[in-house]
Structures are given as C-alpha cells and as structure tokens.
Amino acid sequence: MTAHDRTLQQPVAARAALSARGLSKRFGDFQAIDDVTLEVAEGTIHALIGPNGAGKSTLFGLLTKFIPPTSGTITLGGTDITRFKPEEVVRQGMVRSFQISAVFPHLSLRDNVRVALQHKHGLDRQFWLPERRLNALNGEVDALLDKVGLSDLAGRLASEVSYGRKRALELATTLALDPQVMLLDEPMAGMASADIGTIADLIRRSGEGRTIIMVEHNLDVVEDLCDRVTVLARGAVLAEGSFDEIRASQEVRESYMGAGHD
C-alpha cells in the first residue's frame, strides 16, 4: 500500500495539493460530470461555483471517493487516490463536509468533536474501557469548540442548537482531523447574514496552512475568501481564473451570474 508514501512521484503535482484529470461520472444516460480537470494549488482557497445541478456536489463526492468515478484520475499531495475508499481518502488528509449539515444530532457538541478525535488518538475500538477515558481528549475538544465560538454550548445536544451553530460545529469536527485539504460544500447555505461573516472569518483563519475547496453561491463570500474560482456548468468546467477574471467573462455571466444571482 502506498497510502503513506509521500514522495514526489510526479514533480509537476508537487505544488498541487489536489488534482483531478479527465474526471467523468455517468449515471445511466446522464453525464453528471464530463471530463473535468482541476488543479488546486497548495495553501489556496479555491471556489467551485455554478448553477444548481451543475454537478458541484457530485464532483465533491467523486474527489472524496464517496462516489466512484466512471473515468479519470485523482491525485492528492502526489498520491494517486483514484482507487481509495472514502475513509482512506480521509486518512490521506482530505476531509469533506456536506451540503446538508452533517452533525451527530443526539450527541452533545463536545461528543461530536470528540468522536472526530478518537481515531487519531487510537481510542475508537476499546469496547472494554469506560467512556471517561475519552476525557483525556477534552482539552483538545474545548480548544476546537472555542475556535468556532461554541464553548459555552459544549454540553448541549447538536439537535438543539441553531443551524448556523451546527455548521460551525461541523467545521470544528472537520478541523479536528487536521486535514491538509478541506472540501466544504456550501458552508454558508441557509445562514443568517450575521453568521456568514463569522463563518467566513473562521474559514479564513482555519485555512492557514491548508488547502480549501468550497462550493459557494454567495459571490461576495467567494470574492472575499477565494484565491481562485472554477465555474462548473452541466458537469463540465466552463471557466477558471481569479474572481475578477471570472466576473469579467461574458460566458460566465450568461450562464450563471446574470441568471441566478442578484
């Protein structure tokens, strides 16, 4: 297994944290993703935008191996992960979040984050040990909750807190894994504008030293946060460039910015 082999087999890919080449996915007759090539440079925040149904979430699913691609290759930090299982991708350092807030609703906020840390600390298989052994992780848990501003709610059930806080919690659990690459699927969707600023700030701060790819509809956020933008339409890459380049593109305007966004 070459999972932990971090040598640079492909010198070209050394600067790219994540790259996909010729990635395609067919569901029956429907070509969901059509020959997508994507290169995400290390340490940058890369936005994925496009109208509904463009295949953004499917692309996330493919990159993290939740959905098996029909063809194409995916390389993460120099390692070919095309044949990896989703949990192996995670262990390789790429973690995704979900469009619909993915928390463990009937666990407390503290337990939500702690579960994410258990594997890293080798405390996930011991069925003979009491739960209180996990208290050893609480320092790290509290630091993460503090980072996202949830420390005063640590004991509450995740199902009891507001939507914005669930998203912040999800970010905390993702950060718990200390990933090199984070894929955030619409981290601001359905949030009040006050929360958007907080989360944007959080993503910026937590993104230091990491590579982030995010699907986002709010173009103000994209402009504010992202170094580079890829526009997806009907499963294919329509354009790629800096935010200003994308905004200037007539093609993108027609297909996306003019139509869906105001």
Partner: protein
C-alpha cells in the same frame, strides 16, 4: 440515506436522563431479583430475565448502532441448541455448556454479519431475515436438533461439578448472575470509546465515514457482540427449561424481541428489560385462557407505535426531563 432513518422513532437522548438515576435503578432491580422468586413462580422470573437479556443485547444493535436485525432468533435458538446438545450428549458442565452456546452464537453472528453488513437500511434487515430463515431450515434438517421434537430433558447438571442446578433456587442464582454479567457487559460496550463510535454511526453514517471511520468494521463488531450476548441468553434459557426447540429459532422470535425493545424504549438501557417484562408477563397471563396472545401483541404494538413511540422508558424519561427543565431555563 443512512441507516439512522430506520430508527427515527428512537429517542437517543432518553438514556441521558436515566444515567444519573442508574444507581437507584440498579438497587431497585437487585431488590426485585431477590424478592421475585418468593412472590412469583421462579421459572417465570428466570424466563423473564433471559428475555430481558436477549432484548438488551438486541437493543445494543438497534438502539446504539442503528441496525435493525430480523435474524436474532438464529443466535437465541441456535445457542440454545448448542448448549442443550453440549449438556445432554457431551455431558458438559453447565457453565461450560453456556459458554459453548455463546461462542457458537458469536460464530453464527460473524457469518451472518459479514454478509448482511454490506447492505444498508431495509436491505440489511431483509438480508438478516433471509439468512435466519436459511438457518431455520438447517436446524430443522440437522440430525442433532431432532426436528419437531427438539432436544428434550436437557440435564441442568452440577455447576462447577458442585452445586446441583436441579435445585430451583440454585438455578435461579445462576440465571441472576448470567443476567447481571450480561447487562454489565452491554453497559460497558455501550458506554465505551467503541460505543461512542457506534452512536456516531447510528446518528450519521456518511459523516462517520467522512471522519475516517471504517464503519463496516464497527458494525460487524457490534453485530457479533450482540449475537454473542443473545446467545448467552438463549443458552441460559435452554438450561432453565431443559429444552431447545424450533420455536426459538423461528422468525416469530426475531419479531418478538423487536416488539419487546420498541415497547420498552429503544436506545435506553432499562427499556428492553421493561419491554421484555411486559411481554413475557402478558404471554404468561393469557397462556391459560385460550385467548389468542398474538392479537394482544398486535394491539400493543399498534398502541405503542401510535401513542408512545419512544416506548415506556423513553416516554417516561422524556416526561421526567421536561418536568425538571420547565421551571428553570428557557432556550
């Protein structure tokens, strides 16, 4: 998407309010176990304890992992056959026979689990049902089970070669010990680092995968442990009644344990015990009247699903939590 959809009727929070009441609950339970054989028919109490352990082992899977197995009769009845055979034909010491039955159940659990765990949700339940039906016919045809007759007149033997389990109170003591050990093991598994991961899988399987967990391994682990503890209950029951029959491997038994768990409160520690108590008591009450018990069971199930989905303990726990919280903080 995930298996948690199946158990949306469960109150995963209910266990929390019971946690600090645990010492009281344990004291009450122990008190009842001491008094019960003098008040009720000891065989009845032993049967109740066996089913309470069975339902608790089942609940470990449904309530804490989010897996609905429709094949647990195979482990319950299969272990009963194994223990009965070991005690009667091989003349094994009772504790060894029980251990043998438990190990057999674990092995059957591993075999069924490896196949079923690949499927999700309702397909998992259907796979376990199909496999347990296959097991039923194997038990029906296998020479050592004696088909319709079952294994009868199983000797209870002498515990560690010393204590004669033919004495009702000696047998009762052993059943109590088995029950307490079984419950302690379940309690430990559910409240362990492993148990926390199981709960995470129950809550949101996709998220658990995206945190790097190989969920199939945890599910298989939980499945085998649940099967083994179910086998412990079945083995003990075989010695109590001194018989192992097709009844215990039939799908009715798988259904009955689901009913017990749901009625008592899925995902709560005490729920399955209460549920098993109610069902076994009702069965006993109506056994002599000639009134069809299945009609009453069906009615109870309908009432349970319509009026108190969280089960007796779950609903009670929720009520207690509300009355405690109301005077104080408002969100």
């Amino acid at each position: 998407m995930s298996i948690t959809d199946n158990t949306d009727f469960a109150d995963r929070g209910a266990g929390r309010s019971i946690d600090w009441k645990m010492p009281v609950a344990i004291a009450v339970l122990l008190g009842l176990m001491v008094v019960a054989p003098f008040v009720a028919y000891p065989i009845f109490v032993m049967k109740l304890l066996c089913f309470a352990l069975f339902a608790s082992a089942f609940n470990m899977l449904l309530g804490y992992t989010g897996l609905l197995s429709f094949g647990h009769a195979t482990f319950f009845g299969g272990a009963a056959y194994a223990t009965a055979h070991a005690a009667k034909v091989w003349g094994l010491e009772p504790l060894t026979a029980i251990l043998f039955g438990t190990i057999c159940a674990a092995a059957m659990g591993a075999a069924m689990g490896i196949v079923a765990i690949r499927r999700q949700g309702i397909y998992f339940a259907m796979t376990t049902l199909a496999l347990s039906q296959m097991a039923y016919f194997l038990f029906l045809r296998a020479p050592f089970t004696h088909a319709e007759d079952g294994i009868q007149n199983v000797p209870r033997g002498r515990l560690l070669g010393m204590i004669d389990l033919g004495e009702t109170m000696a047998m009762y003591g052993l059943v109590c010990a088995v029950f307490l050990v079984g419950m302690a093991v379940i309690w430990r598994i559910v409240h362990s680092p492993f148990g926390q991961v199981l709960k995470a899988i129950r809550e949101n399987e996709a998220r658990a995968i995206s945190l790097g967990y190989r969920v199939d391994r945890y599910k298989l682990g939980a499945f085998v442990m649940s099967a083994a503890l179910t086998g412990l209950a079945g083995s003990t029951k075989a010695l109590v009644f001194q018989i192992a029959t097709l009844n215990d491997v039939a799908w009715h038994m798988s259904g009955e344990v689901i009913l017990m768990t749901l009625l008592g409160g899925v995902g709560t520690v005490l729920g399955p015990i209460v549920g098993a108590g109610v069902i076994v008591a009702i069965q006993n009450m109506f056994a002599t009247t000639g009134f069809p018990v299945s009609v009453i069971m069906g009615a109870i199930f309908v009432i349970c699903v319509m009026l108190f989905r969280k089960g007796i303990v779950g609903t009670l726990g929720q009520y207690l939590r509300q009355t405690r919280r109301d005077p104080g903080a408002k969100e």
